[in-house]
Symmetry: none
Subunit: 153 residues, 2 copies
Amino acid sequence: MKFILRHKLSILYGISLAVLLLVLKWLEIKFIIYDHSLEIYIGAIALLFTGLGIWLAIKLTKPKVQVVEKEIYIQQNGDFVFNEKAFEKTGMSKRELEVLELMAKGLSNQQIADSLFVSLNTIKTHCSGIFFKLDVKRRTEAVEAARRMGLIP
Amino acid sequence: MKFILRHKLSILYGISLAVLLLVLKWLEIKFIIYDHSLEIYIGAIALLFTGLGIWLAIKLTKPKVQVVEKEIYIQQNGDFVFNEKAFEKTGMSKRELEVLELMAKGLSNQQIADSLFVSLNTIKTHCSGIFFKLDVKRRTEAVEAARRMGLIP
DNA sequence: TGCAATTTCACCCGAAAGTATGAGTGGAAA
DNA sequence: TTTCCACTCATACTTTCGGGTGAAATTGCA
């Protein structure tokens, strides 16, 4: 069933061609026309006008535009205060905090590297430092911990 | 000039018909076919396949997708309230939400699997579903998006 | 100027995450 | 009863992450 739905148009077109051939066969019997050049000629006409129809439809019909509304959720929490004390307690450097913030936004190490114009290896090093200082193992854990400590909103 | 531009399509179609007639005439001379039913038959074929072409084109042309971004503001006042509407809009299942919550706590896929007493592969499948429905690529991104939408605290 | 901390980068390797595809099961709806 | 969907699990593969280690370059401060 899936196959039929997926190839609906191909199948329909195939059927159309089959019908055309049948019509031609019928004509052959009807008029006892054995000159095959007529069949070829009719086929050419059919193709030509199919093309014409497609061209006409494309030119005449207004371009179909499907408007998709994408909702963007924006959180406005002005009540975030950076916990300076907690930050100092971790012993994190400024650069590490920068990386942590980008990490919390969901960026990959490569994206963070590109944002800060440094190499991927550098970001990895910073990550290791962050994980060590926050006493965590994974980036998601780090983000969770940092949020609880008030280092990021 | 204006007239030509305005009636471009009509003119072209007229020309097409004229060409068809000429072709028919040429055939009449060429094959000395005096049976007018053939002309009628060819005309019918032409019309039929023009229609087929139009129908095909209409069916085949994909609507251009235009994404309109709609901003939704959420005010966060201290304590967390679950955004039911946003949740329904994502189309996520209950199970996926469960996985998302554990994910946001910083658990690894294996830990989530152990918590929910299912296999690691199952969690991976759920993760893929979550990422698709939240339109993100990574777990950290998913957590960020879910938090903004008010799905998790 | 010299030292310490920070920042930068590199390489290797294993673990974890994520993709793609297919499939089986049970419950609810049509 | 059939169909649909959520949930489950699997295999195979690619990409990203993170650990370990070492080492330049830079910066800030004594």
